[in-house]
């Protein structure tokens, strides 16, 4: 099922790569380049899934996750961290901040889309059960 996936990422090559892969696998990528615009885009676009970097300008990924999960309007939209913060403990920190999932960079292009699809809500099922 084609999904609308918002990618929040300030590193252009990484952003283009993820958008390209999403598009290649039949999804519709939406883009934001910093945390504040990203949060606004979640509220405005209500995407099916959000992929979010952590080291972001204006509002970092941890703060973005905190605000998104505190907002009843958008809290059920799955939020997946895709980050180069890949030391021991970084995954736990992301999950504690409110992310639903975590992938370390560099991503595996062969499996990336499949991995993030796991977080999509089941078709027809209740939102947030993905």
């Amino acid at each position: 099922m084609a999904a609308r996936v918002l990618v929040i990422e300030d590193n252009r090559p990484s952003l283009e790569l993820m958008s390209y892969l999403l598009h290649a696998f039949g999804h519709t990528p939406l883009e934001a380049y910093n945390g504040l615009d990203g949060l606004e885009a979640i509220r405005r676009e209500r995407p099916d899934l959000v992929i979010c970097d952590i080291d972001l300008p204006k509002l970092d990924g941890y703060a973005l996750a905190g605000r998104a999960k505190a907002d009843p309007e958008i809290r059920d939209i799955p939020l997946v961290a895709v980050t180069a913060l890949a030391l021991v403990g970084d995954r736990d920190r992301a999950i504690r901040a409110g992310f639903d999932g975590y992938l370390a960079k560099p991503i595996e292009p062969e499996t990336f889309v499949q991995e993030i699809e796991r977080y999509l809500p089941a078709p027809g099922g209740p939102i947030g059960q993905g």
Binding site: P13, L17, V88, P106, I107, E110
Partner: protein, 383 residues
């Protein structure tokens, strides 16, 4: 001259000699200021140490009040009188604090004031012993400063490691990502030569990533940052995980990678992540250095009363020469190059694995026959 008189003279002489020795002892002591105060705090005796430490000669200080030695703040606070009061009430007063020399400079001193009472218990004055600790305090201070500098250097190092990890991974994301999309032929078809060259780029980038990971692991191990969290871990689960991860690599080389399943209840209390990393390293090495045949993972109870668990990783690969065995676990040592083995390693894998095994309270041993194969054994939980 009566005998009694003689005895008196002898006694008086002995007493005088004893007093003389005592006076010389006190007066000659230079490392401690030893002096006496009357009941109101006026100085009645003064030794060489007091002159050296406080700077006053005997004649200029006798009959003066001992509050001269205190700082202005302590004087305003009424400290001299309070100290005598405490000494009179409890027998003594002890502290470390600032005192003032004759020339106005301050020194850090250790002070002991003792109340002196006669046989009837009446207060006769105070004995005061002071030691100049300025040098010791200066050393302590500089040690504290050095310590703080070291701590901030360690923090800077941690910060550097975290940033380096982040900054090195970010460009690799684009390199591995776009090499991958092209090899997946998402932008379009590739000819054979293009595909071969892209595979070379991909292998190089993956090698770079594993180097970064190994170097960061080594840095973290060296700074004691690796946290070990022990929990019951089912041996079979971890082995299956490792086999699942490596099966694509083994299959690409036509190797048979299999598990000899241990008993379901074979559980070891250890750090899951570290155990999995060690087995992954060992099995990955086995794949690298084996051109044909089998890689086998096995776990068995071991040691006294079966309290330990031994994980075996066996291969039918190139094996290890006896003379190379000693260097096997050293950092940055890569063996098997002459035999045309896979060069894509940091030379850190076995070193890191052994270090992790030690952190888990275990060890890795190896048996090998050159040209026939190797068996690495990780033993955990031995008493």
């Amino acid at each position: 001259v009566t005998e009694l008189h003689v005895r008196q003279v002898v006694n008086e002489t002995a007493l005088r000699e004893s007093e003389e020795r005592f006076r010389l002892l006190v007066e000659g002591t230079r490392d401690y200021a030893i002096f006496m105060l009357d009941t109101t705090g006026h100085i009645v005796s003064w030794n060489a140490g007091a002159e050296r430490i406080n700077g006053y000669a005997h004649d200029e200080i006798i009959d003066r009040h001992f509050s001269k030695f205190y700082t202005e703040e302590d004087l305003a606070d009424g400290k001299p009188a309070r100290e005598l009061k405490i000494a009179a009430a409890t027998g003594k007063y002890e502290e470390e604090g600032w005192r003032v020399r004759k020339d106005g400079t301050r020194f850090w001193s250790s002070v002991l004031i003792t109340a002196l009472r006669d046989e009837s218990g009446r207060l006769r004055g105070f004995g005061k012993v002071t030691r100049d600790l300025t040098e010791r305090r200066r050393l302590e201070q500089s040690l504290l400063e050095k310590n703080a500098a070291l701590e901030s250097a360690l923090l800077a190092k941690d910060h550097f490691l975290a940033s380096m990890s982040h900054e090195l991974r970010t460009p690799l994301n684009a390199i591995l990502g776009y090499t991958g999309t092209m090899l997946m032929k998402l932008p379009g078809p590739l000819n054979a030569e293009q595909e071969k060259q892209l595979r070379t780029v991909q292998a190089g980038a993956r090698h770079l990533l594993s180097l970064i990971n190994d170097l960061l692991d080594l840095a973290r191990l060296n700074s004691g940052k690796v946290e070990i969290r022990r929990e019951p871990v089912a041996a079979r689960e971890v082995m299956e995980e490792v086999a699942r991860t490596l099966r694509p690599i083994a299959m690409a080389k036509g190797l048979d990678l299999s598990i000899i399943p241990p008993a379901e209840d074979l559980v070891v209390t250890t750090d899951r992540r570290a155990l999995s990393q060690i087995l992954l390293n060992l099995a990955n090495n086995a794949c690298k250095f084996t051109e044909q045949g089998t890689i086998r993972l096995e776990a068995v109870r071991d040691g006294l009363a079966g309290r330990a668990v031994a994980f075996h990783v066996s291969d039918t690969g190139i094996g290890i020469r006896d003379e190379d065995r000693a260097r096997l676990f050293q950092a940055f040592v890569q063996l098997g190059r002459e035999e045309g083995g896979d060069r894509n390693g940091s030379g850190l894998g076995l070193h890191l694995s052994q270090r992790l095994a030690e952190l888990l309270g275990g060890r890795i041993t190896v048996e090998s026959e050159f040209g026939r194969g190797s068996r690495f054994t990780l033993t955990l939980g031995e008493d």
